[in-house]
């Protein structure tokens, strides 16, 4: 038995016994993913025109979280490595973007290509950090890995306070972001522009991840997760595969953190605490570990649940002190409770329930016909 078996192997994604590949839809995987991404992009543009600015901002936040949760679900769900340090990796991306954008603004540089350049720099720096952690992680199993990544999650935000000359301590840095380009018209809402930018970046990241999952590398990820010894016998370099999975996951986490920083136009260590790392893990587990659609549900939950509890506490008439305590902590309590219940009662999460429901509906139809 391998020590890195994933928590919930999504069986229906693996090849079925008998060697028949699950992918029965035919056609090119790349073309199918491109079509899905294009459709999602068009839908996003349509939605961005039809909802109010605040909802646009919320959707943009969902997109930024989705980047990180998608990367984490690939690492934990498909490669079987648990990371509690993704909040710290997001912080790396966020601080890199802040430093880059500030440097550009100080030199008076302007242009549409600066933001993609900063985001690219954020990905590169997170990849570097992720590679260091990943090399260590590849030697570690189970609780040891969880402990090291937990230490990373606790320590990295503290570094921002230690080296406050660069990172400005608890105050954090501001992220100067340019207004939307004038070619879109003088009254283009800023929130819609934010949604476009984060949506485009996230869809691109998701396209790459989806193709990676379906590729040879994705198969080696799953092989290493299911049985290390068997994978090694099949000629897979286990450690290299694990480091690769960690680096890919770190890159998307860095991009997600960078997008969050661009959205908030500021970064501070408080935003990237241990709680954020736990939230990300919770989101991918509740959404459905190992599935990109599960990562989407998780990201939606991360934005929607605090909003929901906020409106609930507003409806109840409470004293301001009690309301403040509830508002900060009720979402956390619900998250924690849901996480425990999902792990015990419904491994597979939201997406697992949905696909079970879908299969049940599909299975019923032929029996009716016969």
């Amino acid at each position: 038995m391998s020590a890195t078996r994933a928590a919930l192997p999504p069986k229906e994604q693996l090849d079925e016994p008998g060697g028949r590949p699950v992918d029965r839809r035919g056609g090119s995987t790349l073309l199918r993913h491109l079509a899905v991404v294009l459709a999602a992009g068009l839908l996003l543009v349509a939605v961005s025109y039809s909802v109010e600015p605040f909802r646009n901002f919320q959707l943009a936040t969902v997109a930024a979280y989705l980047c990180a949760t998608a990367g984490l679900t690939v690492l934990t769900g498909l490669n079987g490595q648990l990371s509690l340090g993704h909040g710290a990796l997001m912080a790396t991306g966020a601080y890199t973007v802040a430093l880059c954008q500030t440097a550009f603004a100080d030199r008076g540089m302007t242009g549409g290509w600066l933001l993609p350049l900063s985001l690219g720099a954020a990905i590169v720096s997170t990849v570097a950090v992720g590679a260091v952690v990943g090399v260590a992680a590849a030697r570690l199993r189970g609780p040891y890995l969880a402990g090291v990544t937990l230490a990373v999650a606790v320590v990295v935000p503290a570094l921002a306070v230690t080296f406050d000359g660069v990172f400005n301590g608890e105050q954090g840095l501001s992220v100067p972001v340019e207004p939307p380009p004038l070619s879109l018209g003088p009254y283009f809402p800023y929130e819609r522009w934010q949604l476009w930018v984060t949506g485009a970046a996230t869809l691109l990241a998701l396209l790459l991840l989806a193709n990676l999952i379906r590729s040879r590398y994705g198969r080696t990820f799953r092989a290493v997760r299911d049985d290390e010894v068997a994978a090694r016998l099949a000629g897979i370099h286990v450690a290299r595969t694990q480091v690769l999975a960690f680096v890919v996951s770190a890159a998307t986490a860095g991009l997600g953190g960078a997008l969050l920083a661009v959205l908030a136009q500021s970064v501070s260590p408080g935003a990237f605490s241990l709680t954020l790392s736990l939230f990300l893990l919770m989101a991918v587990v509740i959404g459905g570990l190992g599935r990109l659609t599960g990562a989407l549900w998780g990201a939606v939950l991360l934005v929607a649940l605090p909003d929901l509890t906020h409106s609930v506490t507003e409806m109840l008439t409470l004293s301001p002190a009690v309301a403040q305590r509830l508002e900060g902590n009720l979402p956390l309590a619900i998250f924690g409770l849901t996480l425990i219940v999902v792990m015990i009662a419904a491994p597979g999460g939201v997406q697992g329930l949905l696909s079970r429901l879908g299969r049940a509906l599909l299975a019923r139809r032929p029996t009716r016909r016969s």
Partner: protein
């Protein structure tokens, strides 16, 4: 030289607490093969109960006893209500559930007590006595050493010399055989969780007066330090946990004394990484055969 002596004593006193906390982790790891990531949050919850009792009655010692009882009960509760029902086929599952417990417990504490720091009082003076002009020990340090010493030797005696300890060891190492021989394996597991959680609560009561105070997140860094201590000791070895705790305590004390307290979290991370990269199973771990 004065400073060195002071830092050494301070580090040993801090290390004794880490040792107790690491010992709690090792207890659960040996009994259930679970690293209890919720240990810190559970200990803080017990400390909050003690705070409530102490402020209501004005007696520190009543609160102290209540904290340990609350820790014992919370540990049994967590095992019976949550951990028993988790699928242990993958080592990730109990870790994820424990993290869910962390979120839940800290949120509930935040809702009930708010997230401002509450003062955690010490029963004895924390100012050091001087011996020959050198500030050495405070009465509180003595209290910490004595308490931890009693707990560690008590646990060692219980596991080595009593029928209950024998049953607990048997249930952990060969559950099937022990069940056939009439050992209540489930009950021993619950007892293990209760004991570990009680020791954790005691460690929290001892460490909180030396930190900023009572806060839902007060034990986060202590947990990471204690985990490092347990890993240095090899997770499987109670004497290793005690040695590991003292080593981590000394290291943190020297780093914060000579290099600045901001660097202590970084020092913990570096130590943890260094130990795990050299010996992925911990320094005191026996050589493990690869399981195929």
């Amino acid at each position: 030289m004065d400073r060195f002596v002071f830092l050494t004593v301070d580090g040993l006193s801090r290390g004794a607490v880490y040792a107790a906390f690491a010992l709690a982790l090792v207890l659960i790891w040996r009994a259930a093969r679970v690293v209890n990531f919720a240990q810190g949050a559970m200990a803080v919850a017990a400390a909050y109960v003690a705070y409530t009792v102490s402020t209501a009655t004005g007696s520190y010692w009543l609160g102290f006893v209540v904290a340990i009882v609350a820790g014992l009960l919370l540990g049994a509760l967590v095992d019976r209500v949550v951990m028993r029902h988790v699928d242990h086929a993958s080592p990730l599952n109990p870790v994820i559930v424990a993290l869910g417990l962390v979120l839940l417990i800290q949120a509930v504490l935040g809702m009930v007590y708010g997230s401002e720091f509450r003062p955690a009082e010490a029963p004895f003076s924390r100012s050091a006595l001087t011996v020959g002009g050198v500030a050495v020990l405070s009465p509180y340090d003595l209290f910490v050493f004595a308490t931890i010493g009693v707990v560690v030797s008590g646990l060692a005696w219980m596991f080595a010399r009593t029928p209950v300890g024998l049953r607990m060891r048997a249930a952990a190492f060969a559950p099937e055989v022990s069940r056939l021989l009439g050992v209540n394996v489930g009950g021993m597991l619950t007892l293990g969780w209760a004991l570990a959680s009680g020791v954790g609560a005691l460690a929290a009561m001892l460490v909180l007066p030396t930190e900023l105070g009572l806060h839902p997140h007060a034990m986060d860094l202590v947990f990471v330090s204690a985990f490092t201590a347990a890993v240095v000791g090899g997770l499987d070895s109670p004497p290793g946990a005690v040695v590991g705790g003292l080593v981590v305590g000394l290291l943190l004390s020297y780093v914060s004394g000579y290099a600045g307290s901001d660097l202590t979290p970084l020092a913990v991370l570096v130590l943890l990484l260094a130990v795990l990269l050299v010996r992925p199973g911990g320094l005191f771990a026996p050589v493990a055969a690869r399981r195929v």
